[in-house]
């Protein structure tokens, strides 16, 4: 209780409150603009937060992370374009509701279901904390190595239909973090005798290039898109609570899926949404309404994706392992401020951890309040010309990259990754595996080296209970994927033979 109060005290500082407010409101606005998204905003703001205190910088980024999905529902419902990628399923039922004149009802449902999911996720995080504090110290070097390896495998296999592309891009990420001077042996790796490569490739430069600059180039290259807006109508947005309460089973189970998927590195919002949506449809009394404006479908999608951010903080805080690109960016903020996430964090800085939890609760309340009064104004933001948006992102990206080290070389590298990111986006290939490869690759290299000091035979790697469980999970995930791939191949072969 004392630690919780210390955490609350930390959160009551004026600069923290201001950062949280700016992050929460900014996140909603960013989420509402199709083509920006939280990854771009966090990437741009990341270097700016380095000069701030850890709690201030982190609450601002946390605000953006946790609130962008609220804003993303707005264009998904009104113009059939998800504001952030994870609002894709919201369009299935949100837009049909708008078309039949129920935009206000759809928005109310989306906001309140998001709030439900957000608070559910934070409560799970708070109740799991004591368990995490017990389990986290059981993770030594080999367990963290195996968890990071499991994260890489899951990231690759989670991209169904693009497993090879995700694999090669994750491996590229692992390779990128090896470039430069090896910190242990002091030998150069892939520097090609060029001095600018000796210090390695900076993760933030890559993140800014792949997420922010690529998006700027993409928007600048494409013709302007100014969608026509449907009228939102009138009526109290808080009425959504009553309707969500009617479907509390769907909202709670979907939030539960969000928490579960959020905790597993590499899985995240997409899987949570699809599982929740499928569950809601299967258990609904009106399954035929799904995809045609079903309130249950909308609730399932929004509750699931908003439960993820809090849950994604679990592996990050407890083990220092990010589950997706946004938490990978958060990790670099922790490192810059010498706050090392992992077992020690729960033992030494529990008040800091609690302050982050409380910040998550407060941001959900701020966002809901902000949306209740600003929906009309936000609908106008959706109509910002896309090429103009591209200009703004390009300018802001420059601030992000150049303020790191005032290096023109960094800008050239970021521009190169910007073009690479544009190609990946045009080809619909995933970017996240590169970032996770860079972050998790670094963790794997360090942890495997230190683990090997105590490992004589390969079996020693898994002779502890958690290491063994992680190894089993790794084998099971790969075996299940191979089994399903084999079945698909056989089914295709049978279909081909029948056709012939």
């Amino acid at each position: 209780m004392e630690t919780l109060l210390a955490g609350a005290e930390l959160l009551m500082r004026w600069d923290v409150v201001l950062a949280l407010f700016i992050g929460s409101v900014g996140g909603v606005v960013i989420g509402a603009i199709p083509g920006v998204g939280p990854a771009v905003a966090i990437a741009i703001l990341l270097p700016a937060t380095f000069s701030l205190e850890p709690i201030v910088g982190l609450t601002m980024l946390l605000g953006i992370y946790g609130s962008s999905m609220y804003g993303g529902a707005l264009p998904a419902i009104l113009i059939n374009t998800p504001g952030t990628a994870v609002n894709a399923l919201t369009t299935y039922d949100g837009y049909p509701m708008t078309r039949r004149g129920e935009a206000r009802r759809a928005l109310a449902l989306a906001y309140t279901a998001s709030f439900w999911g957000g608070i559910f996720g934070i409560l799970c995080l708070i109740f799991l904390s004591p368990v995490l504090a017990i389990i986290a110290p059981m993770f030594g070097s080999r367990e963290i190595f195996l968890a990071a390896l499991l994260g890489i495998v899951l990231v690759i296999l989670a991209h169904r239909g693009q497993v090879f592309a995700a694999g090669m891009l994750a491996m590229l990420g692992i390779f990128l973090q090896t470039i430069g001077l090896d910190a242990v042996t002091y030998t150069k790796r892939f520097t090609f005798e060029m001095t600018w490569l000796a210090s390695g490739i900076n993760l933030i430069v890559v993140v800014l290039g792949l997420f922010a600059l690529s998006q700027a180039f993409l928007l600048l290259l494409e013709p302007d898109d100014r969608p026509r807006l449907a009228k939102t109508g009138s009526g109290p947005l808080l009425a959504g609570f009553r309707e969500v309460a009617k479907h509390k089973r769907v909202a709670t189970v979907s939030s539960g899926f969000g928490v579960l998927m959020g905790m597993i590195p590499g899985v995240g919002e997409f899987t949570a949404q699809f599982i929740s949506y499928t569950y809601a449809r299967r258990t609904s009394k009106t399954p035929d309404d799904f995809g045609k404006g079903s309130p249950e479908g909308l609730i399932a999608s929004e509750a699931a994706n908003n439960a993820v951010p809090a849950a994604a903080m679990i592996p990050l805080l407890a083990l220092g392992i990010p589950g997706e690109a946004l938490t990978a960016m958060m990790l670099s903020v922790f490192y810059v401020h010498n706050v090392i996430p992992g077992p020690q964090l729960f033992q030494n800085q529990l008040d800091f951890v609690y302050a982050l939890y409380l910040a998550l609760i407060v941001l959900n309340v701020i966002v809901l309040g902000f949306l209740m009064v600003s929906t009309g104004w936000l609908t106008r933001i959706i109509r910002i010309p896309t090429r103009f948006l591209g200009v703004l992102i390009l300018i802001l990206s420059f601030v992000g990259v150049y303020s790191l080290r005032n290096s023109l070389t960094d800008c050239m590298i970021a521009a190169g990754f910007g073009v690479f990111g544009l190609i990946l986006k045009r080809l619909h290939l995933p970017i996240v595996p590169i970032i996770l490869g860079m972050v998790l690759g670094g963790i794997m290299e360090v942890k495997l080296r230190s683990a090997m000091a105590r490992v004589k035979t390969p079996w020693d790697m898994i002779d502890r209970p958690i290491a063994f469980l992680l190894f089993l999970a790794l084998v099971a995930v790969i075996a299940l994927h191979l089994r399903s791939a084999w079945r698909e191949m056989r089914a295709q072969h049978t279909r081909d033979q029948t056709d012939a």
Binding site: S51, Q162, M171, F175, T187, F398, V401, L422, Q492
Partner: protein
């Protein structure tokens, strides 16, 4: 079973330019793999996983294998017309990469505020917006970006070399805030 079902299983949605990207990526992976020996060191002592060459070898080996499978997947998938048009589109993004680098080169010379205003207004004109109100908005936003990042958040950006030629009173303000 022949190799045909395996190739069919590798097939996926193939967008315009997919094969070009897949081949270039494979060639890049092979180039890096071929340089593994010259660009990394193998120490005579130490375990395999502690060797400086270990992780580059693992990542480049994996990258090449997955890139090869990606090429095979591309070859065995139905093609969408317009490959070179798409490649041309990728190349067109180099123009904006050039704008970005030029912006970075300008800042230490003419300063953050003047280069931000210049680049943003020129880019807005380049995008075909001739509307005076939008250009004024751009100037306002450019000014706000500079004040927020340099003045309020105090991000580390160099002062322009031309600021040295400003009159005494203004020079200090420009050095700190713009």
């Amino acid at each position: 079973m022949s190799t045909r079902p395996i190739l069919t299983a590798l097939s996926r949605q193939r967008r315009r330019g997919d094969l070009v990207f897949a081949i270039v990526f494979l060639a890049f992976s092979l180039f890096l793999l071929a340089n593994l020996g010259s660009q990394t060191v193998w120490k005579s002592s130490g375990k395999l996983v502690a060797q400086p060459r270990f992780w580059p070898a693992v990542s480049l080996g994996g990258m090449t294998l997955f890139a090869l499978l990606h090429v095979l997947g591309s070859v065995s998938s139905p093609r969408e017309q317009g490959r070179w048009r798409e490649v041309l589109r990728w190349l067109r993004s180099l123009e904006f990469a050039g704008w970005f680098i030029a912006y970075a080169a300008l800042v230490p010379i003419i300063g953050f505020l003047p280069s931000t205003l210049l680049v943003s207004v020129l880019l807005v004109l380049r995008c075909g917006y001739g509307d005076g109100r939008l250009i004024l908005t751009t100037v306002g936003l450019g000014f706000a970006i500079v004040v927020i990042f340099r003045g309020v958040l105090q991000v580390k950006l160099p002062a322009g070399a031309i600021y040295d030629y400003l009159p005494d009173g203004i020079r200090q303000v420009f050095f700190i805030y713009f």
